[in-house]
Amino acid sequence: MRRGQALAFVGAAVAVGLAAGVLWTRRGPEADASAPAGRPESVAAIAGSVTLYFPGDDGRLHAETRALDTDTEAGELARRVVANLIGGPEGEGLFAPLPATTEITSSFLGADGTLYLDLSSAEHALPPVAGSQRELLAAYSLVNSVCGNVPRIRGVALLWNGEQRVTFGGNLDTTRPLAPDRRLVSAAS
C-alpha cells in the first residue's frame, strides 16, 4: 500500500511537471514577444543555467553563472544569453558589454553553426566600443557567452544596424564570424 501511494505521488509529480513544462513552452515565445527588445528577461528559471562572460576593468572576461531557462531552441537560447549580457552583470567590478539601450534587432542561426546577430541602438549609429580593449572585450563577451552556452553555435557574425561591418569598433575584423577566444577569459573563471 505504501509502495502504491509512493508510485501515485511520483506519477502525479511527473504529470504536474510535464504540464508545467508544456505551459512554459507555450508561454515562452509570447512572453518574449511582449518583453521589450533588448531588455534582460526574467532569470527565474525553471531549468538550466548559463555562464555569461562580462568584461572586467582588468582587461579580462569574467564568468558569471546565472539561472536561465535553457529549454528552448538554439537561436532563442542565444538571444536570451545576449539579452542577459546587455542587461548587465550581477557582480561588482564587471560591466555590460554594450549599453542597456542596445536592442537585439534580429538573429539568425545558419546551417553551418554561425549565429548572425544584428544589434542596434537608437543612440549609437556605430557600436560604442572605441578602443581596442573595449572592442575586444565587448565582442568576445557576446561570442564566448553564446558559443559557450549553445553548443550548436560555432561562431557569431556581428551586425550593427542591419549591416555587417568591416570592423566592430574600428579594429576588430567582423567580415567573418568570430569564434570564441578563451585567451581573454580571466584565469579565475
Binding site: P55, G56, D57, D58, G59, G93, F95, T105, S106, F108, G110, A111, D112, T114, Y116, D118, S120, A125, L126, A130, G131, S132, Q133, R134, L136, L137, R154, G155, A157, L159, N161, G162, E163, Q164, R165, V166, T167, G170, N171, L172, D173, T175, R176, P177, L178, A179, D181, R183
Partner: protein
C-alpha cells in the same frame, strides 16, 4: 566543403528578408560600407562584334557587378579560381590580375589598385565591377565598355590600340647614367622593378620602338629592349634607379645610380649607404583619422595623438636608420583600413607599425599592449594560409593560393610576433610600464599587410592618470624612443646582406 563566404552571403541574404537595412545616422567611413546586399540580380547580355551572350549582373548601390567568368569566356584571357573561390587570377598576356570577393583591391605586377567596390560572389560566380574589367581589357587590349542598365546590356567595343612612337636618349655623366623615354603624349603606364632591370609597361597603347638606341650598352646600362607594350632597361649589377617625368615634350626619365645609392628626393642630405639593393621602407600607420576619431580621454582624441606620435617616430627613425619612413596619413583624414595595408604593400615596406591609444571598461587599465594578428582557427582560408606559412619542402602552392589578400599577414606571423616582442619589451623596460604582454587579435588593419606588422596600443585614454602622462611631450618622446630602439634592434637582428638568399623578414625563432 561548402564555401564559407557563399554561406555567409546566403545567410545574409536570408537575414535580409527579416532585417531591413536601415539608413544610418552619420555616414560611416567608406571602409565600413563595403559589404552590401544587391539591389537586384539579372541575366543581362554581353554584346561584342554583333554577337550576344548571357551575362549575370548584380546591381549594387555603387554600380553593376558582372560575372567575370562569363566576361572572360567572351573577351579572352585565362581565369583561375583558388580554393574556396577566394582568390581569382585573371591572366591576359603576360599580366596577371589577382582579386577576390569582398576586397576592393586588385593587384597586378606588384601594384595594388582600389576598385570602386569589392567583387561579390553571386549566381554567376564572382562578379566584378566595371573598373576591374577596364583595368584588364581597356588598359591592355584597348577594349571599351558601355553599360546600358535599362536594357541590361554590356556593350564591348573591340577598339584598337594607339601606336605611340618612343624616342630614347641615353646619357652617361659623372658615374650616373640617365635614360630618357620621349613620347608624343603622356601614356598610361606602370613601372615594375626587377632584379637587374626596370620595365615600363604602357597601358592601352602599343609602342613603336626607335630604329636604334645610341650608347645603350655603356655606363650602368646593359641594354634597352622593347616589347609591344613595354620598354625594359637592363642595368649593371647592383645599380638602382629613380624615375621622374618631364613635360613639353613628355619624357619619362630614369636616373641610374651605382650600387643602388638612389638619391633621396627633395635635396635632403645623402643617406648612409643602404645595406640592401634599395632603400628599405617602414610604414607607420597613425590609427583612425577623419570622421573616425577613435577613443577619447580628457582633451585627448586618439586620431590626433596617433598622428602626432607617428610624426615624432618618423623623425627618430630617419635619424636612427637608413630607411624611408612613410606615414599612411599625414593629416586628419579618413583612410580605410585595407588601404593602409595596401599602401605598405605597394611600397614593398619591410615593416608596418600601426599606432593606437587604448580604452577599456572602467578607469583602472593602464600600460601598453602590442598586438600581432591572430587567425581564427575556424576559418578555412586562414587554415590554408597558415598551412602555407609553415609549409617547407612540400608541394609548392601556386601564387594564387598564396595570395589571399585579406590574409596576406599569415605568412609573416613569426616575424610579426618577434617584432611585437621587441616593441613590448622596450616599452616595458624603458618606461616601467605595466607589462600587458604581447597579444593576438584579428585586427583588420594587420590582415592585408604582406610584411611583419604590429599594432601598438601606447596607453589607455580611459585612465585619467595615463591621459595626463600621454599629454606630456617628454613622455611622448620617451614612448617613441622606445619604439625606435625596438625597430633598430629588429632590423639589426634581421638584416641580410644583398645577395643573400634569405628574406630579410624571416626571423629565426
Amino acid at each position: 566543403m561548402t564555401h564559407r563566404a557563399l554561406l555567409l552571403a546566403a545567410a545574409l541574404g536570408a537575414l535580409g528578408v527579416v532585417v531591413p537595412l536601415r539608413a544610418l545616422g552619420p555616414a560611416p567611413a567608406e571602409s565600413e560600407k563595403e559589404r552590401e546586399l544587391p539591389l537586384a540580380q539579372m541575366v543581362g547580355s554581353l554584346e561584342m562584334e554583333g554577337r550576344s551572350s548571357p551575362l549575370a549582373v548584380m546591381l549594387m548601390r555603387r554600380g553593376p557587378l558582372f560575372s567575370v567568368r562569363q566576361v572572360v569566356e567572351r573577351l579572352g584571357g585565362e581565369l583561375h579560381v583558388g580554393p574556396f573561390q577566394q582568390g581569382h587570377e585573371l591572366k591576359l598576356g603576360d599580366t596577371s590580375f589577382l582579386f577576390g570577393p569582398e576586397s576592393a583591391a586588385v593587384t597586378f605586377g606588384g601594384e595594388i589598385v582600389s576598385l570602386s567596390q569589392p567583387p561579390q560572389l553571386g549566381p554567376g560566380g564572382l562578379a566584378v565591377p566595371l573598373d576591374l574589367l577596364e583595368a584588364v581589357y581597356t588598359e591592355l587590349d584597348g577594349k571599351r565598355f558601355a553599360w546600358r542598365e535599362r536594357e541590361g546590356r554590356l556593350v564591348v567595343d573591340s577598339g584598337s590600340l594607339r601606336v605611340l612612337p618612343v624616342a630614347v636618349d641615353v646619357v652617361h655623366l659623372q658615374g650616373v647614367s640617365t635614360v630618357v623615354l620621349q613620347f608624343p603624349a603622356r601614356p598610361r603606364y606602370r613601372i615594375v622593378d626587377g632584379p637587374g632591370r626596370v620595365t615600363v609597361h604602357v597601358l592601352g597603347d602599343r609602342i613603336q620602338p626607335p630604329a636604334r638606341v645610341a650608347r645603350a650598352r655603356e655606363g650602368l646600362i646593359r641594354d634597352v629592349r622593347f616589347g609591344p607594350q613595354d620598354v625594359t632597361i637592363l642595368l649593371a649589377p647592383g645599380a638602382g634607379t629613380e624615375s621622374y617625368e618631364l613635360a613639353d615634350p613628355y619624357r619619362l626619365v630614369f636616373d641610374v645610380f651605382p650600387g643602388g645609392a638612389v638619391a633621396p628626393a627633395g635635396g635632403t642630405p645623402a643617406l648612409p649607404p643602404p645595406r640592401r639593393d634599395r632603400i628599405p621602407t617602414i610604414v607607420i600607420d597613425p590609427g583612425h583619422g577623419g570622421s573616425d576619431e577613435g577613443a577619447k580621454g580628457g582633451a585627448l582624441v586618439e586620431k590626433d595623438l596617433t598622428l602626432r606620435l607617428a610624426r615624432l617616430l618618423r623623425g627618430k627613425l630617419l635619424e636612427a636608420l637608413p630607411v624611408r619612413v612613410v606615414l599612411t596619413r599625414d593629416e586628419d583624414a579618413d583612410l580605410p583600413l585595407d588601404t593602409r595595408a595596401a599602401l605598405a604593400n605597394q611600397l614593398k615596406a619591410e615593416l608596418f607599425v600601426s599606432l593606437h591609444l587604448n580604452s577599456s571598461f572602467g578607469s583602472r587599465a593602464t600600460g601598453a599592449e602590442t598586438y600581432f594578428l591572430s587567425l581564427d582557427a575556424s576559418d578555412e582560408r586562414a587554415e590554408l594560409a597558415a598551412l602555407d606559412a609553415n609549409r617547407a619542402g612540400g608541394d609548392p602552392l601556386t601564387d594564387l593560393e598564396l595570395i589571399l589578400w585579406d590574409m596576406a599577414q599569415s605568412r609573416h606571423l613569426n616575424a610579426s610576433q618577434r617584432l611585437a616582442s621587441l616593441i613590448q619589451g622596450e616599452l616595458n623596460e624603458t618606461l616601467g610600464l605595466r607589462d600587458r604582454g604581447v597579444k593576438q587579435a584579428p585586427f583588420r588593419v594587420l590582415m592585408g599587410a604582406a610584411m611583419p606588422a604590429v599594432l601598438v596600443e601606447l596607453g589607455f585614454l580611459s585612465n585619467p592618470a595615463e591621459v595626463d602622462r600621454l599629454e606630456d611631450p617628454l613622455y611622448q618622446n620617451e614612448l617613441m624612443d622606445a619604439l625606435t630602439r625596438a625597430l633598430v634592434r629588429y632590423r639589426a637582428a634581421t638584416w641580410v646582406p644583398a645577395g643573400a638568399s634569405a628574406s630579410a623578414t624571416e626571423v629565426p625563432e
